[in-house]
């Protein structure tokens, strides 16, 4: 009965059949019945920010929002103050060398708002990527969300050392897990290869 595995795609398909004309390329991204509560959350964000945010996905208990690095601070502020998400569960960096970008994903949840207990909001943004990184001194920078969500503090430190994304405004941009004398590439970048593989 895992709630996420029953995607609305399966139920939606028979009803969708009369209108297959326009969304031929991505039918699974436009199911007829998006979960109503989650749709409400993404609608509020789109209403407030318009085309500054892009809805990545809406599925059971999960809403995905993409935004640019200029707007991520404002969007996070709105998510905390108006949508009542109160903590970050994790901060993840994902390297996309093909796009020349590094994505940083915040998984946000809420303890105080009981209707959001099942929900996880995925806020992602991208920083430019440099092939010869000098962590902290190159263009791979994002605004820190630590002043909005205190709980991202160690997560952002981890992303800084593992992918080289510097967070402007973070009070403590030091190494956390790696040794102090680590002089190689940030290890979770795709061009850092495990030896022998």
């Amino acid at each position: 009965m895992s709630s996420d595995s029953e995607k609305p795609v399966v139920e939606a398909k028979p009803e969708e059949k009369p209108t297959p004309a326009k969304p031929t390329a991505k039918p699974e991204e436009k199911p007829v019945e998006l979960p109503a509560f989650e749709k409400g959350i993404s609608d509020k964000l789109v209403e407030k920010f318009g085309d500054k945010v892009e809805v990545d996905f809406v599925k059971d208990d999960r809403v995905g929002i993409k935004t640019s690095k200029e707007n991520v601070h404002d969007v996070a502020q709105f998510i905390r103050d108006d949508l009542h998400y109160d903590h970050a569960e994790s901060v993840t960096g994902v390297d996309y060398p093909a796009d020349n970008e590094i994505e940083v994903v915040y998984h946000l949840g809420s303890y105080t708002e009981s209707s959001l207990a099942r929900q996880v909001l995925t806020l992602s943004t991208r920083a430019p990527r440099e092939s010869n990184p000098i962590p902290g001194q190159d263009s791979t920078k994002l605004p820190s969300l630590r002043d909005i969500f205190y709980s991202v503090e160690f997560g952002e430190r981890e992303v800084f050392e593992m992918l080289g994304v510097y967070f402007d405004g973070h009070p403590d941009n030091r190494r956390l897990l790696l040794p102090e004398d680590w002089a190689d590439l940030p290890p979770l970048r795709k061009d850092f290869a495990i030896k022998g593989r």
Partner: protein, 378 residues
């Protein structure tokens, strides 16, 4: 002032009084991590946790292996809780691979998950006992967890690193007559842990050492994003088995244990109460479980995914909410696997709780955070 004081008793300036101490990484009271503390006399004035001594690069390793061969190494961060630490990865991999799990396998998972929660908590409790110099509380849990380890050995063949949960179900079915043995051992186990109240939880020495130390208020518990027993000991009623049930937890009656004090005593008591709740869940699951049927959807050796996807799955582990974020680009290996582990999340509370405490209270505060260094480092 200074010239009239006898030598040795003269007051020093604050800067000269502060002493920096490295607790760990080899110190038995720190686990595999270092805590840099600055003390003024007996009081901690600054604290900087320094994890990373057991960082293994699990997330990087996961990018080189397919969805099945990732199973044995991803349980390594917490071998005592190996079923729970694999659980979110397995749930996520099932969604990416598009496979359904047989009903009986879901119940087997619940039973194994709750057994592992108790095995982990007993180990944690044993160390909490020895941290406070209570040798009996080291011996008793270390001995009583053997009851449950024996059960898991019957199920999976391994005593600690079970690698029992795999995408598609569980590796093999329960052995014959397991239900009766399990029920008997769990009932005895529950009777045993109730006796811990007299020797440990009602012990005036423990109470005086842990009560009102390291108080974490409800607001700060939420602000720091803590989870699990730390959160519930600060009065937040949040348990994923109730709030966002996965597999068959929505068919079981799960009670959440919440305490309001937020001190070390509450944080040490909530996991103990959770163990009794686990016993209840195991008994319910044994009763409701389908008596026969498949426990595994067979996969090919190098299973194909349904295409590019991202999933984020959470389960309630022995330490709190454990999330797994998987990015798939359609290949047979995951593009990125991120484990959002409860120890790492609870670590943020540590400096905030230790500052202002006496150095002697450090073990009771630190270990009450239900912190597992190897898990935090991954």
């Amino acid at each position: 002032m200074t010239d009239i004081m006898p030598p040795g008793l003269a007051l020093k300036k604050v800067d000269e009084r502060i002493m920096t101490l490295n607790v760990g990484p080899q110190h038995p009271g720190s686990g595999h991590m270092r805590i840099v503390v600055q003390i003024d006399g007996d009081y901690i004035v600054a604290c900087d946790p320094d994890p990373g001594y057991v960082h293994r690069g699990e997330e990087k390793m996961a990018e080189y292996r397919n969805y099945i061969t990732n199973v044995p190494h991803l349980e390594r961060p917490v071998i005592h809780d190996s079923c729970n630490v694999l659980y979110p990865y397995v749930l996520g991999a099932e969604e990416i691979l598009g496979i359904e799990v047989p009903e009986r396998a879901k119940y087997v998972r619940v039973i194994c998950s709750e057994l592992n929660r108790c095995i982990y908590t007993m180990y944690w409790l044993a160390i909490y006992g020895i941290f406070l110099g209570h040798s009996t509380m080291f011996m008793w849990p270390a001995g009583d967890r053997e009851l449950l380890i024996d059960l898991m050995e019957k199920v999976s063949g391994a005593r600690v690193t079970h690698a029992h949960f795999i995408p598609g179900g569980v590796r093999n079915d329960l052995p014959a007559n397991f239900e009766d043995v399990c029920l008997r051992q769990v009932n005895y186990f529950e009777k045993r842990i109730k006796e811990y109240a007299a020797v440990f939880y009602d012990n005036p020495i423990l109470i005086s050492r842990t009560q009102d130390t390291g108080v974490l208020s409800r607001e700060n518990a939420i602000r720091y994003g803590t989870t699990g027993s730390v959160l519930r000991a600060s009065g937040v009623d949040y348990d994923l088995r109730v709030k966002a049930p996965y597999d068959v937890y929505d068919e079981l009656d799960v009670h959440t244990n919440v305490m309001k004090e937020g001190d070390s005593y509450a944080r040490s008591k909530v996991p103990w109460l959770d163990m009794m709740e686990s016993c209840n869940i195991i008994r319910q699951a044994l009763q409701k479980m389908p008596k026969s049927g498949s426990v595994r959807t067979k996969l090919k050796p190098n299973p194909k995914t349904k295409g590019p996807a991202t999933v984020y799955k959470r389960v309630e582990s022995g330490r709190g909410s454990l999330g797994c974020y998987i990015v798939s680009d359609g290949k047979t290996e995951p593009y990125r696997v991120k484990m959002s582990v409860p120890s790492f999340r609870n670590l943020l509370a540590m400096p905030n709780l230790l500052i202002g405490e006496k150095l002697g209270n450090m073990p009771s505060v630190y270990w009450s955070l239900n912190y597992w260094p190897v898990e935090a480092d991954r």
